[in-house]
Amino acid sequence: MNQAEIKHRGPAGLQIAVLGLAFLFSFPALYLLWRNFTEGGDPLELIATRRILDPLWRSVSLALTVSATAAFIGTALAWLTTRTDLFGKRIWRIVLPIPLVFPTFIGAAAFIRTMNPGGLANRILSEFGIETVIEMRGFFGAWSVLTLFCYPYVYLPVAARLRQLPRSLEENARVLGQRPYQTLFRVVLPQIGSVVAAGTLLVFLYTISDFGAVQLMRYDTLARSIFTAQLADQSAALALSLILLVLAGVIVAFERLFSRAKFTADEALVGEPIQYSLGKWRFPAIGFVSLTFLLSVGAPLLALGDWATDGLLRTTRGGYPLTIDREQVWESTWNTFSISVLAGIVAVLAILPIAFLIARYKSRIGSIAHSIIIATFALPGILIALAMRFWTLRSDWAYDLVNNTEVLLIFAYIVRFGSLAMGILLVAVSAVPKRLHEAGKILGVNRISRFARIDLPIMAPGLGAAAGLVILSTMKELPITLLISPLGFSTLATRIFSSFEDAFVAEAGIMALILVGLSSILTWFLVIRRSDHL
């Protein structure tokens, strides 16, 4: 193999590692294929019936609209909080990713409790003589709650990218007399386009995988059909899941086709990114950010806080006592923290080689791995859990090694959420200017220290943001944690679920507030502090 070819495909070791990773990430897909085969699931026959076409159409139309709005909101928030003189930027940066951490089953329920008829918002508004009777349900309800909970999938990576864009192009544009909004549309947006697209793709896939929100909003999507059919008609559920995966594959392929991302940056990052003054736009801007925050974080928190304080007051007044004690809460909080941080780190380590292979070498193996990982994000968590259990049971060796351990749990988390790290890491890797590398090579610095001294410092904000996305998502993860964690392992999310299932809303509210607090601390530590110090 000549030098050019190696350069094109990447080092053999890296290729083999990525192939191995791609194989591990394809466990859920292989499981679905295998089970469809053995259980006699017939996806083609199901597609032929109208029963499937309706939910399929609902899934797609919901996912498209949620993607569009989340892309807009996420991008706008990212620009406002990184590039303008928006009031209270540092606070917004800590609180805007919070919606990511609401498990949808309780987040949507709390949202409903605040926003729907007779809810807390209604009661507060009617004090001021305002009577609103909007009921969050069906398409409108699912669309609004998913948009509000999913925009961070766009916001976080775009914000990370915006802080990294080379200053020079924008400066040139300004010098050439372009107005700020012209610079935004002609210079900035083209540079963040691929990141926005990658984030939006995640929103799309998450929306078709979501069960908690659509179920509470009573909107009958494909994911809900799968859950309904699981016990009663398992082969149908398996066939539906395969359809979901194929749909995801098609969407991912489309994205690859149209946003042939130009993941290259030959400009070095010089100095702080340019800040724009909002001027007379400062009030609409703060209004937009506040409204998004009030609806996506404030509305659920109001209900959660109400449940929690009612519960606490009740116990202090000697009423029905809480069914959780301090020790349990502490244990779950600690588990949530440690397992999600571990999952975040491992996810970055697992995805980084793939990102390298794609961004540096434009490798086909890299592209295949990329597609598998992203498409898997469309599968509901319970399928990932069942698939992981299924495969560990196929081999005595794997069973003895990983069953009932945190290793299996983390592996499953990575398969579920690795996709979240992918887009950001691709950008981070491509942000390292080639000429710095070449300079390093000429100076005789070896590969490892080039990585440590050139790549790592430049990629750092991206690594933080990627780990952050995985961590926030892992913190709220439910079905995988319930089904394949070691026996007796509980997280805040599993205890919130337990409490909420049987309407112990006070306990659920308290633990949800702890979850939000914990996520804010981690967001500050990982995403904000890092980048601000760069």
Binding site: L393, N404, L483, D502
Partner: protein, 354 residues
Amino acid sequence: MRLRILLSTLIAALVFTSCSSDPTSLDGRAAEIYPGECSSGNGRSVTIYSGRTENLILPVLEAFGCETGTDVQVRWGASTDLALLINEEGDRTQADVFLSRSPGPVGYLESNGLLGTISSDVLSLVDEQNHSSAGTWVGFSGRKRVMVYNIDEYSPEDLPDSVFDLTGEEYRNKVALPGTNGSFIDWFTVFMDQHGKDVATQWLTDMVDNGARYYPNNRSIVEATGRGEIAMGLVNHYYNYQEQAASGSTHRAENYDFNNEDIGSLLIITAATILDSSTNVEASEDLLEYLLSAPVQQYFTDRTFEYPLAAGVSPNSTLPELTALEIGSVNFDELGGGFEEASRIIEASGILNR
């Protein structure tokens, strides 16, 4: 540096999670069940997959572990998910005992041949209709179907005697049904069994035509009724007690009990099973026996507001009275097979898009 902090935190985390101390006696709710000193280990262990939630049943399991010295391990989850997991795990499941919130998941496991036979000594602790004739499951508590209603919109005298009246014009757009909920599907299965498939299907179709609205589960109906979003809904009796305990007088809903003979006031049992693959059968049967003992049955009715099924314990006085139909006339063995058909009919009725 930061890496080192992280690594040491992680090691600490692993140490933290792997050690747990043995209590010498219990406190809190568990002590109400067993106030005595804990026995030292009896060398036995039992692993439970519990679809009953931790908040409700952990004190019982703690008391069992303390009193008998058995090592108890639990995986918590939704009954449906756990049944799917056990099916996936087959012979190699860690579970000895599966506790289900409703009969449907039990029927699923039974039809897949995964359940073992419980000894007749344990089965005979409950009335005949509350255990499987094949000995694969035993009921250990009950939840009654009732109708929750908004007290600002209705008073009990205005409410009907029977679920069949809910198809009338005066209840148009008023009633919520938890169409995809396990215990609703179980209830509908018994409905079909009692009144015939045609009658039950017709009732559901009429409900849909009458503007009945779908909600995903009991809890969300009780919560929405308390706010006045919907006037009434068919639910398990139990949730309104929790909502009242949590929200007090801001929760504007009460339970309404249909005529005792009506299918609308059916008792749905929660069931315990032992897996066929279990190697800890003795400890498992001890556990089932314990669930049916007087202190635990008393706990279920006083603390979780459920109906006791054994040991001569009578229901807490705050619960609606139990009468003829609920006990003694329903063949729960039919539930397993009927579950599939009930799900299909419910889906075909179109209620899920209401």
